[in-house]
Symmetry: C2
Subunit: 251 residues, 2 copies
Amino acid sequence: MADSAPHAGRLTFGCLVGASQLLGLASVVLTGVWMGHYHGGYAWDGSGKEFNVHPLCMVLGLVFLQGDAVLVYRVFRNEAKRTTKLLHGIIHLLALILGVIGVVAVFDFHGQNNIPHMYSLHSWMGMVTVLLFCIQWLLGLLFFLFPGASSRLRALYLPVHVFSGLVLFVLAIGSCLLGIMEKLLFSIMLVYAERVPEGVLANVLGILLVAFGVLMCYLITKEEYKRPPNPEEEALSLHFKSLTEESPASP
Amino acid sequence: MADSAPHAGRLTFGCLVGASQLLGLASVVLTGVWMGHYHGGYAWDGSGKEFNVHPLCMVLGLVFLQGDAVLVYRVFRNEAKRTTKLLHGIIHLLALILGVIGVVAVFDFHGQNNIPHMYSLHSWMGMVTVLLFCIQWLLGLLFFLFPGASSRLRALYLPVHVFSGLVLFVLAIGSCLLGIMEKLLFSIMLVYAERVPEGVLANVLGILLVAFGVLMCYLITKEEYKRPPNPEEEALSLHFKSLTEESPASP
């Protein structure tokens, strides 16, 4: 009986992680269907089909993968920290690559069609998010994966990295919502109020993205799901401080 | 010298709170100027001027006041908990009243001008936010201000209340951003890409709202700025538990 509470906790955690993945995948699929079914699919030819690459890359990279990159610290909270850290960095790198492809797609589409760049609130917020995401990734690499930074520096930077990571995840979702609104009003403004299927599908996509964000933030910030302190790891870290590989002051 | 660190901490906290208030007030003023200067001002006559009441109420109530209602727990973290709690509830009530006026304004404007309600992503997200905000306020009142709830119930509900409060604050900002995008594309779609002053002003408003949100979340979640545990208050609370007025399990 004494074990039932932790078991129930693990079960709840597992269900919530499963639900988050369903919400995230549903968002990616809905974006794909929206651009594929209602806007002619994907290509890299300067047409509207090249624009369609943009939302798909952003939702898949900067929302779904960015969220999952953070979640690995909760899902693998009892695994070796270095492995988790590497996985965190690699998934973030994939997110970054997709984000850059997404930005290039929309800039190229604008360029080929004489559409001005960077005038809308969506573009301002999206660009700030992508630039800060690049900086965050580089700083994360320098502080936590390269052996140069001291434990003290890591410990000082860690809370900034964690807070900025959550902010960037939320900003990415906010930018996607603005993108949905912009795309809808440019495409179906005259019939949006009639609740046409495309409008409803895109609205549902927005709500799914918000639900994914809320659930991920819950899983990431809940004290119970955080990585437990590991005295052995900390002792090792102090002992082999010069190696700076398994410092407690890493996310 | 030993006192210099806490003093510097208090100074930083004061500066950040000041900056947050400047950002919040600037957002309210910019919303007022946008609707006042570019859209003819305010009235309650079913015209576009009645619509203009909507954004002003939402930014002032559900963003600025909602943020400040949470911030009182950080600014007055050394004052009596009951006073802070009352202030928290009263500012939230003001935010709620403004939110309801804002919703009524837009519904009345739609009704008078035969515009369908609740079809856009902005309206879906905004309505979810306002409804959840009402529920959150009522539950807060029942659990933490009415003497009925036991300390155990309060302690169980507290983390849910805190997490939901932050989510609602972020959702309110997200809904405002969507509202800005929608209003801009309905009003100046054909010249938005030319970076006309109205478009730039509204974009800056969006960025200010995001900056306000990020700074508030930082101030609210930073461990150092949280209310320190007060042993006297806790002892009193245990002693006079039946009064359930100063329970430790209140936000």
